[in-house]
Amino acid sequence: MSSTTHDDHAHNDHTHDAHGDHGHAKPGFVRRWLMSTNHKDIGTLYITSAVIAGCVGGILSMLMRAQLMYPHNHIISSGTEWNAIITAHGLIMIFWMVMPALIGGFGNWFVPMMIGAPDMAFPRLNNMSFWFLVMGFIFVMLGLLIGDGTGAGWTIYPPLDNARYSPGIATDFSLFSLHLAGISSLLGAINFIATILNMRAPGMTMHKMPLFVWAILVTAFLLLLAIPVLAGAVTMLIMDRNFGTSFFEPAGGGDPVLFQHLFWFFGHPEVYIMILPAFGVISHVVSTFSKKPIFGYLGMAYAMVIIGFVGFVVWAHHMFVSAISTDSRVYFEVATLVIAVPTGIKIFSWIATMWGGSIEFKTPMLWAIGFIFLFVIGGATGVVLANAGLDQELHNDYFLIAHFHYVLSLGAVFAIFAGFYYWIGKMSGHPYPEFWGKVHFWTTFIGVNLTFFPQHFLGLAGMPRRYPDYPDAFAGWNFVSSVGAMISGASTAVFFYILYRIFTSKEKLADNYWGEGATTLEWAVPSPAPHHTFEDVPVIQ
């Protein structure tokens, strides 16, 4: 379609002065990967690091499910070790797997391309965001491995992580890892907003922007406003631990519940930070493989904006049993239920997009349909948990674990794989093996559902979260859950085989290998996308 017009050798004579790497001499390894100012290379770095972090976090989860396979197991030697593992698993999966894959990875690769911009607004800052993430990963690993590790859970509540109960330096490393990851996200957010608001090609008005770009825009605003509050809370924790303050220390007059407020004021927007980019990916995949434009485009965009706003005023639904007043409970319950409305808009629009479309069940579409299906289950259990009365019973038990794994491990992660199979040809230039893609999907689908569906039953029966052991009565479903985890673990091997096949493939792909359904700008450039795209301003009608 456009391969001839996008030959970028044609405009070497343009006035891009001082572009050191602009010629087509290949930059050396250090220059390309350590000093990068190229959004595609930085996106690749993010995706690679997300794969590595995902493996580390995944191994930790396999350990946990191995321990919980039978009652009174001794795979993990002590409760302290257990606590360190669950903490690191949660932190790594959220901050070093889901966020880097969706925002840093796909966001970096495709936001500039989709709006017809040649790169991000602040390329050096972009690179620094990535390296802050790496430094944070080193710290979170130190927090896991030094001494007893960090055992306060990913929610890092005091007093669990105060100087009395977590005296070692491991906890300080984990807390500072959040600072480092937070700075990374914050700089990334500023970069995305500036890019999207300032660098759209002529004709690419806000109301024509692809939904993935909308998703990243809203996500970036959530990051910009939520991350600093977490940073403040973590700073106060570190001061309490090390510098004799009493922010959350009752002995000096402090209030530990205040930490929960600050944490969840960040934490609830954070869950939308993880799922909004996923919504964006799913919209593109569903529209492409239904060969129809997305149903209710504007409604889809503004549903995300509304979710972003409302997401800031529902935080205390995580605190229904934390000594908040009855009036607060009523308010937070109702406000939380309101979010189900824009979320419903999204689900119904995806279904309406598929309705009457000529649907092609390629691997990305399977993941997308899997996403919709499983996210609906997770959303429904969310509505259950939002009832303050019910949540008195369900809070912090396996029903909650099932809820957030349905929206995250089965929601966000499915969207990551949907995006991966959708775009890998554009990123690498080579096709993935369709058959193995489907094997990967089905093994994962069966594995994760076996893992997490029984956890609803365990939770309703009263099994609490964050314990390494349980009464014999819970043995049956725990066994099923662990078998499911082993299956999903094995499906990762399929994924690595697919990666191997992609990167050893000799086959070349056309610009738009999905055909008429794929309409956004990244499909107008060659596959793989050249190092520099849109050196000439594209004009969108």
Binding site: T37, P123, A189, M199, P228, T245, S246, L262
Partner: protein, 283 residues
């Protein structure tokens, strides 16, 4: 509105090169991130083992990175054709968004303060539900804090004076205005240092009131230091005639930041010093 509108197939090819500034590869970002890691690790080592070496290395690295990186930016801005209008607008977005995130950082510390101010019964253990807590002697808001308020408000006007001179092309006036602003910033910091060293309560193991007080005012003081540094850089650049009436975003960013610091102070003065004063105040 249908999805049709944002299609690649509707794209028109032009031969107009894009107007953005494509930045050369740079090693500073990696060094910056590594320095930040050293600072973080350095704080941990200092707190646990009293060893300040890593912290010093990290701070040195961070400062040097900032110096060389921003030196590059200044050079690029002086290279014709790199910072076109659209790139300057992008920088404005960047600075405005950064300030927005800083506002949220302060929100967390004000939230901490108001938690006890409005709900003193939330204080731990058997503390009487009054704020400030029983027995706490607070700082007289009409002594140094009022003086510092005046200093900062005045500095807000002097930086505007410098801005107007800049717009008029009056470089001497710009330098004077900036110099006075920097001096006022330093005066503020001296006032705060005196206040801290003479405060009637202690930071270390002083309980919840000093914690809330020192984190909010201290974090603000830290921002005054950054803002003053930023203004000093602008002063040097003004003396070197690097600003023109048309192009001086570096200056404007410093001024925005300074006004932001100023506004935060007004909130601190009213909410913490004035509304949070106790019956017994110490001058």
């Amino acid at each position: 509105m249908s999805g049709e509108v944002h299609t690649a197939t509707n794209q028109i090819k032009s031969t107009v090169p894009h107007p953005y500034h494509m930045v050369d590869p740079s090693i500073w970002p990696v060094l910056g991130a590594m320095s930040a890691m050293c600072v973080a690790g350095g704080i941990i080592f200092a707190a646990h083992f009293g060893n300040f070496i890593l912290l010093a290395v990290g701070l040195l690295g961070a400062m040097s990175t900032m110096y060389v990186w921003w030196r590059d930016v200044v050079r690029e801005s002086a290279t014709p054709g790199l910072h076109k209008m659209i790139t300057q607008i992008g920088l404005r977005y960047g600075m405005a968004l950064f300030i927005a995130s800083e506002v949220m950082f302060f929100v967390s510390f004000f939230w901490n303060y108001f938690n006890y101010f409005f709900y003193p019964d939330k204080m731990g253990y058997a503390m009487a539900p009054v704020w400030p807590p029983m027995g706490v002697t607070t700082i007289d808001p009409f002594a140094i804090p009022l003086f510092n308020t005046m200093v900062l408000l005045l500095s807000g006007t002097t930086v505007t004076w410098a801005h107007h001179c800049l717009l008029e092309g009056d470089n001497k006036g710009t330098v004077q205005g900036l110099a006075v602003t920097v001096m006022l910033g330093l005066a503020f910091l001296c006032g705060q240092a005196w206040e801290y060293t003479h405060s009637p309560f202690n930071f270390y193991h002083g309980g919840v009131f000093p914690s809330a007080f020192f984190i909010a005012t201290g974090f603000h003081g830290f921002h005054v230091i950054i803002g003053t540094g930023f203004l000093i850089v602008c002063l040097v650049r003004a003396m070197r005639h690097q600003f023109t009436p048309q192009r001086h975003f570096g200056f404007e960013a410093a001024a925005w930041y300074w006004h932001f610091v100023d506004v935060v102070w007004l909130f601190l003065f009213v909410c913490i010093y004035y509304l949070g004063r106790s019956a017994i105040v110490a001058g």
